[in-house]
Symmetry: C2
Subunit: 346 residues, 2 copies
DNA sequence: CTGAAAGCGCTTACAG
DNA sequence: CTGAAAGCGCTTACAG
């Protein structure tokens, strides 16, 4: 194979068009201050030589790469995939590229990736941080270095952030189950960290408002994966007085609950009512169809990216912006009043 | 905020350590030819100054960016998300970054993105091409320019490729349904393009081998999305002699079939047996659990990336390498012998 | 084991 | 509207 097609530079184009390099640069960057006739000659020369701008050289001089970094826990989670797509769509519209990395919720890996992204001179960063302390230090340092940072899904003091309203989700889900007549409502959520505070208090507040006694054993701050939801459900159902309803706050946990219910022979909603979260596609074809707290990850990604670009454009104030996106409860059959609930409420 | 922390360069480190820039460069790149004492002095100076290498400058000179491009149809598809993760894991291990873009199966967008990635001087590319003609021209051009290309999911003459064995998947799925006693087996697959040839012939061959008459109306080369699977199913069930079994060859099409079956009031497998594809998580909790052709997207991504790095290392021969990954049939209840099938085969 | 020189391909800042 | 000069921060190729 002839792998030696000559690569032409701005110099070559300038020579062929009979102008200086700066004039070529002006044409390529769409400057208005070029005579139409000159512009045409330059464009023609560029076409003839198959000229392609070397972004590296331009960025080295200008200090801007038009690359943003994005750090998510794991792209395999459809929720994060949606956020990534939202960010990419906005970036694409603005002519930016996205370097995407997975942290796996590992602080060490996050730090290493941040270091590499800085070496690559990213213009900005969108990140789901791993840890309230370690991540905050590293990200604040980025921000000090004039690299805008937008935090996703979690909040970090001093930085812009976009997130779903996890507490309102708990409110909606638990209230819905209570409205359907259930009184022993379990809450299965990811591990408790300082990044996601207030879930227990919100849960208690809903119960209190409805005059229902609070039983701490019905709250499970468990893991992130299917297995965690599975184990939590089995533990809950072994309680002396097991729950009659449950809210699982992530897609993976929801799937774990369903698998456990299947293995335990529990009918839904008769033996256990369920509100799940964040599965748009398959929740309609489970039996019964699931009641779901639905968030809109693509919107979140879009809004986060727009916030980042506002910073890049200098169009944002000094104070950090915090945006909370609402979610909606999509009612299926898995949470409707079942036999158990009837006897409990009568 | 004080946004003016001074950024130190290799020059600053050299001065502070009392050595030349090249020596600092050697230390940073782990060259063996540096005295231990010199190395320590340089590292200490780098720490003192919070030195961070500017990858742009290094790449401009060396001609290597340690960035690879990845073009997928749409990251929202969990199958592609798996492939992306596989690629990222290998890249991360090798200290490479991945710029990820979505083509949305749009040839224009693909061409534009390829152009931008080349401007960013990617070292290599992993791509799910949109079109057998247009993509081939653009990708061959990349390859001519010494930028290795690995094609995923589809094959393009002259280029390295990794893919699932889609024809074997058809063989397995259709044969399984026939073994269960079904004789009117429909095939619902994505649109026919030259990128995915031979599906019809493979399907016919399986029927012929089993002495079953071929009915072209039972093949639907439809779209990529849920809606396409939905519409295809409704059309198929309106036939004078509708199918008794069906193989839907992608996750989105499978979901469409399930939704249509639900809306048509079809019991699975009694009214319609089903083999679906590529949903690892939720296929276990549908009612009944689905028989699935399962592929391993993460493996495919990994293998594709390894192939790319073999090219980058110069460890691959001149001839293109083609790797086909096997898939496996995971038996659920949706394809087991139902009432219809019994009467048909008796 | 170490260094002086050149250069990668652009854009910036300035001058006219 | 156009150009001469300088420089972004590294690595390469060479010399010693």
């Amino acid at each position: 194979v002839s792998k030696n097609a000559p690569i032409s530079t701005i110099e070559d184009v300038a020579r062929r068009a009979g102008v200086s390099r700066q004039t070529v640069s002006r044409v390529m960057n769409g400057s208005k201050w070029v005579a139409a006739e000159t512009r045409d000659r330059v464009l023609q020369a560029a076409r003839d030589l198959q000229y392609r701008r070397n972004a590296l050289a331009g960025s080295l001089r200008s200090g801007r790469t038009r690359i943003i970094g994005m750090l998510v826990s794991n792209i395999l989670n459809p929720l994060y995939a949606g956020q990534v797509r939202g960010v990419q769509d906005v970036a694409d519209l603005r002519g930016y590229q996205v370097i995407l990395c997975n942290t796996d919720e590992d602080v060490q890996k996050e730090r290493r990736l941040l270091e590499t992204l800085r070496e690559h001179q990213i213009d900005g960063l969108i990140v789901i941080p791993c840890d309230i302390t370690a991540s905050r230090v590293a990200l604040a340092d980025l921000y000090q270095a004039s690299i805008p940072v937008v935090v996703m899904n979690r909040t970090l003091r001093g930085l812009d952030g976009v997130m779903f309203d996890g507490l309102d989700e708990i409110r909606q889900a638990v209230q819905h189950l209570i409205d359907e007549g259930y009184r022993r409502v379990a809450l299965v959520t990811p591990p408790v960290t300082k990044l996601t505070p207030g879930r227990r208090g919100t849960y208690r507040a809903v119960l209190r408002k409805n005059g229902i006694e609070y039983d701490p054993r019905l709250i499970r701050h468990t893991g992130h994966d299917v297995q965690a939801g599975y184990a939590a459900t089995r533990e809950l159902m072994r309680l002396p007085r097991p729950p009659t309803a449950m809210y699982a706050s992530t897609n993976m946990l929801t799937l774990g609950v369903l698998l456990a219910a299947r293995d335990l022979g529990l009918r839904i909603p008769d033996d256990l009512a369920l509100v799940g979260a964040n599965e748009e596609l398959w929740s309609k074809v489970t039996q019964p169809a699931l009641t779901m707290v639905q968030v809109h990850p693509h919107d979140l990604g879009r809004v986060g990216a727009e916030l980042l670009f506002r910073r890049l454009d200098g169009d944002a104030g000094d104070a950090p912006t915090l945006i909370r996106l609402p979610s909606q409860l999509v009612i299926g059959e898995s949470s409707l009043a079942g036999g158990q609930a009837m006897t409990t409420t009568s």
